[in-house]
């Protein structure tokens, strides 16, 4: 009944061990299914948030632009996978298993159209606060992934997980700060909201 992704999210280390023991080959179309689903989710969620409607056209347009985020995550994951000489599987299979841990971010994206309906908290503030949950949840999954799939030590797993977490936060924050008018503008905005 439970999907692979749900099992990975709830019990990452045990599930990754079982997956390593059971599955073998990962063709490209199978590997691309999970990142593609993430792209579809973003394509649908964005117009839902902004326009309270979804159409094929809006979803396709939005997915095309926001697929950049998934491509960046692919690059980051490949760097982490390539850095581990002890990994138990090939790079494509490792990438497939990495994206099996996307459920927390997928659920976060899906909650955004509902959460941003509230007019009490500004949407961008709410989105940023809510992002803490998938960030922490995914860090646990990534640590389990490194230990089992990449075969790293506990310290190696912690380092890679920390680096991935830092990269996600830094890239997202940098893009946000640049697009919001620079560091001083963001700082003044935060101070105004606090006071």
């Amino acid at each position: 009944m439970f999907s692979t992704e749900l099992r990975v999210a709830l019990s990452p280390e045990r599930t990754y061990r079982k997956l390593l023991a059971q599955e073998g080959h990962a063709p490209w179309w199978k590997v691309s299914a999970r990142p593609a689903l993430l792209v579809v989710i973003m394509g649908i969620v964005m117009p839902m948030m902004a326009f309270h409607r979804v159409t094929f056209g809006l979803a396709i347009l939005s997915a095309a632009w926001w697929s950049v985020a998934v491509v960046m995550e692919c690059i980051g994951a490949t760097c982490i996978i390539a850095s581990a000489g002890t990994r138990q599987v090939g790079i494509m299979r490792a990438l497939d298993l990495w994206f099996a841990g996307y459920l927390p971010f997928g659920l976060w994206l899906l909650t955004l159209p509902i959460a941003t309906m509230s007019s009490l908290i500004p949407a961008l503030d709410l989105i940023s606060i809510m992002a803490v949950v998938p960030l922490i949840w995914t860090a646990f999954i990534a640590a389990a992934y490194c230990r089992t799939v990449l075969g790293t030590s506990r310290t190696g797993a912690l380092c890679r997980t920390g680096l991935h977490l830092a990269a996600v936060v830094i890239v997202a924050s940098t893009l946000f700060v640049i697009s919001a008018g620079g560091g001083i503008a963001v700082w003044s905005y935060v101070m105004r909201r606090l006071t």
Partner: protein, 286 residues
């Protein structure tokens, strides 16, 4: 089986959403020698600090019953320029390139801009730089916490956002700032804008522009002359009594949402289908 059902529900939801999509063809109302153009001069787009591309925003402007939108990303002018190029020479809403000049002391909307205006300068200097490009300067959500809005800046600004999504307390401050600007310069245009990044709805607050012609130049001229009326989320109109009366008489149509039930059904079906696909995953656990 369940996974396939969830995927089908998602696709059907998208189809229902597409069917409910209406694109009303509304001609702007006329009042004497003027067109009453429904406008939103504070819209953020992607790439940048908005969530939607200029193409999607233009489509949404049609649904929102807007004739003019200005793309004003924080300290970025390129996205607005792109939007202006997309809309140039084609039917549909006018898109004007701009920038939200973002300084800790003030936020300033520039509409009709061709080059970036440096944010690291006092408001008065930034307004002068905007005017040097034949663009118009609008005080963005001006509240007393923005110390850059002194009398000198209010005296030369072309418009002030008197209607902007806010609570009652903030709304009062916008009105006070507008009245202060009007005392210093009787031509200051009342402006209503949504300031959409991700939310709220585009055109939730809007400006009725009394333009002699339906063009960027016509819109900018009307703002410079103060020929606008702003409307806030509660439907309160702000502006010269004569123009407010003309808006009431012309009753320009607002957002068209006649297929609301179908639209909501599409969103709900798509969301539930997507949740199903997400939880059931791309493949079963072996």
């Amino acid at each position: 089986m369940l996974r396939a059902l969830a995927a089908v529900l998602c696709v059907v939801g998208l189809a229902v959403g597409s069917l409910s999509d209406e694109r009303p063809t509304q001609t702007p109302a006329r009042s004497g020698e003027f067109w009453i153009l429904r406008s939103d001069f504070h819209v953020h787009a992607f790439p940048g600090d908005g969530s939607q591309t200029p193409w999607a925003l233009r489509e949404e402007a049609v649904r929102a019953g807007l004739d003019v939108i200005a793309i004003t990303n924080h300290n970025i002018v390129a996205t607005g320029q792109l939007a202006q190029r997309i809309a140039a020479g084609s039917d549909g809403p006018i898109m004007i390139g701009g920038e939200e000049i973002t300084n800790p002391q003030y936020h300033l909307i520039a509409v009709g801009l061709s080059h970036l205006v440096d944010a690291n300068q006092p408001a008065v200097a930034a307004i002068a730089a905007i005017h040097a490009q034949n663009a118009v300067a609008i005080a963005a959500h001006p509240t007393p916490s923005f110390k850059g809005w002194d009398d000198a800046a209010f005296a030369i600004v072309d418009g002030s956002e008197v209607a902007h999504p806010a609570d009652d307390g903030e709304r009062r401050k916008f009105v006070e700032s507008f009245e202060r600007a009007r005392r210093l310069n009787s031509h200051v245009a009342p402006i209503g804008s949504s300031d959409i990044h991700v939310t709220p709805e585009m055109g939730s607050c809007r400006t009725f522009v009394f333009a002699r012609e339906r063009s960027i130049a016509g819109v900018l001229d009307a703002i410079r002359a103060g020929r606008t009326v702003a409307v806030d989320e509660n439907g309160t109109l702000h502006g010269d009594p004569d123009l407010v009366t003309r808006v009431r008489e012309a009753a320009p149509p607002g957002r068209s949402d006649q297929r609301r039930t179908l639209r909501r059904l599409g969103v709900t079906m798509t969301w539930l289908g997507l949740l199903g696909v997400l939880l059931l995953g791309t493949r079963r656990f072996p």
